[in-house]
Symmetry: C2
Subunit: 302 residues, 2 copies
């Protein structure tokens, strides 16, 4: 099956998706994942584009996953990002997939993981995951990467604070993009100071690299540093273990939440519950107690 | 039980939390919830502070819930926000609660709802929920509000794009804060244009109000407009129904996810599963199929 059709099937949980994932799973494990994150307007899409191009020039197959905030207006990913990504998506060896963060019940994280696995099985050497760096779900997405790049720009003011709070500690590498603007060196030194403050071990500090993505400046150095880091990062058995644990929990979580959505809606049971709450015959907390009772021994060893 | 102790008990799901929620539920339904959201650095905390003060001056009891990005560095909410909030939290009639977005499995949304219910039952007239406006979970939090304010500032450039994508459509009112800066009128007209583009009905457009929160400018007008809107917004039975439906789904979702975390970890079953994946005796997708089998009829009418 073609890559994009399989991704759609798995994203939508269409019939046969799980069998397909089980089938391809043994083909996974080769691709390296690079997470690219930062606040809105940091130029992540352009940077991702340039990194993808550079990796292709080095002879690699590249996959790109762009995760955009959801919008009921557009029904999904922001058109702008798609347009900007067109450049590289026309290259033969780059496969680009936009993912929207649709719906109330989330599962963005797991969907991105699934897509990663599929691209991996389809022979991508590197997979770039681009996502906004604010927001819990969005941070979780990049956490699954082998290498996390955090993109900052000059003149963001309090923006640094938000970056610091959410994702500073998961960065393996910092990019100061739009480095031709005033204040670029200030950002570099701010990041350096924050790293010193937060340093817990005497492990090497993440490199900080200046780029001007729109002009292609600094991209070669960035990619080289990233590839070096990917080779040198110490991915222990414990790290591998932790990653699979997270993967299992994420997968079960998504399936159970889908199940709640589907089963509870199916035959009017949820509507009945809503009416009971409205008529004050029950409250949400008594209802949850009722419906969870059958789950008493769920997931425990039998 | 004191308000803050009850909140802690419910947040931590400590013994007796559910009984406590069931007990207080009948006391809820009086408070009006105002969501305040926008990108990092928009001055949301200062604005929230000023709105809280103004509401108190009008004779109200006010609760504030500040939702901050998680940080393994700080172990929770950003110190900065807490400090800035101190101002108003010293006022007798304002109760401030910071919530961190801890942990992999989320549940931020439901925790905020729980805290809202508790403050409601404890007699708060207005509850302000302040949250970063980028990120799926964060947007979900403000969606539960009766009135949603979206805070923009001049000079954010592409920031507007992110706001547009995520939360433009849930705004009942726009605030252009830091309106003493260059470009404030530009932001007002940009928002106006976007509203026109996205307009689906001939319902009245959300008002756009300029403020300088640090100087208290525009706050009186903002609060008056907000209160007027709260009185005029058409909250139909269908809206009420939808809200309770979301509440029930959110609550069940959080409890099931907590259950997964607890039960699966408890007696080594999860560790066994991880080992099977590492040894290639199983893959995550076959394991999820196994563990979900007992849930076949879950939530369906019996």
């Amino acid at each position: 099956m073609a890559l994009s059709r399989l991704i759609t099937r798995v994203e939508n949980r269409d019939s046969g998706w799980m069998e397909a994932m089980q089938e391809i799973y043994s083909e996974t494990g080769q691709a390296r994942l690079i997470g690219i994150t930062g606040s809105p307007g940091a130029g992540k899409s352009t940077l991702t584009n340039q990194i993808a191009r550079t990796l292709v020039e080095k002879g690699n197959n590249v996959g790109v996953i762009a995760v955009d905030p959801s919008s009921p207006f557009t029904g999904g990913a922001i058109l702008g990002d798609r347009i900007r990504m067109t450049d590289v998506s026309k290259m033969e060896k780059v496969f680009v997939r936009s993912m929207a963060t649709r719906g109330t019940l989330g599962g963005l994280n797991q969907s991105a993981r699934d897509v990663t696995k599929i691209m991996d099985a389809f022979g991508k050497d590197y997979i770039l995951i681009e996502t906004v760096g604010v927001g819990q779900d969005e941070v979780e997405v990049v956490k699954t990467a082998d290498l996390v790049m955090v993109v900052c720009i000059p003149g963001q003011g309090d923006g640094i604070q938000a970056i610091k709070a959410g994702i500073m500690e998961i960065a393996d590498l910092f990019v100061v993009n739009k480095a031709d603007r005033d204040g670029a060196n200030r950002v570099v030194s701010d990041i350096g100071s924050m790293l010193l403050l937060g340093q817990k071990t005497d492990a090497p500090q993440p490199p900080i690299i200046k780029t001007v993505a729109t002009a292609g400046e600094g991209i070669q150095e960035l990619v080289e540093q990233a590839l070096n880091l990917l080779n040198s990062l110490d991915r222990t058995d414990a790290w591998q273990h932790e990653r699979i644990r997270e993967e299992l929990i994420g997968l079960v979580k998504k399936e159970v939440v889908d199940l709640i959505k589907r089963n509870w809606n199916e035959d009017g049971a949820l509507e009945d519950a809503v009416k009971r709450v409205i008529n004050r015959e029950a409250n949400p907390y008594s209802i949850v107690q009722e419906v969870l009772a059958p789950l008493d021994g769920f997931l425990k060893k039998q």
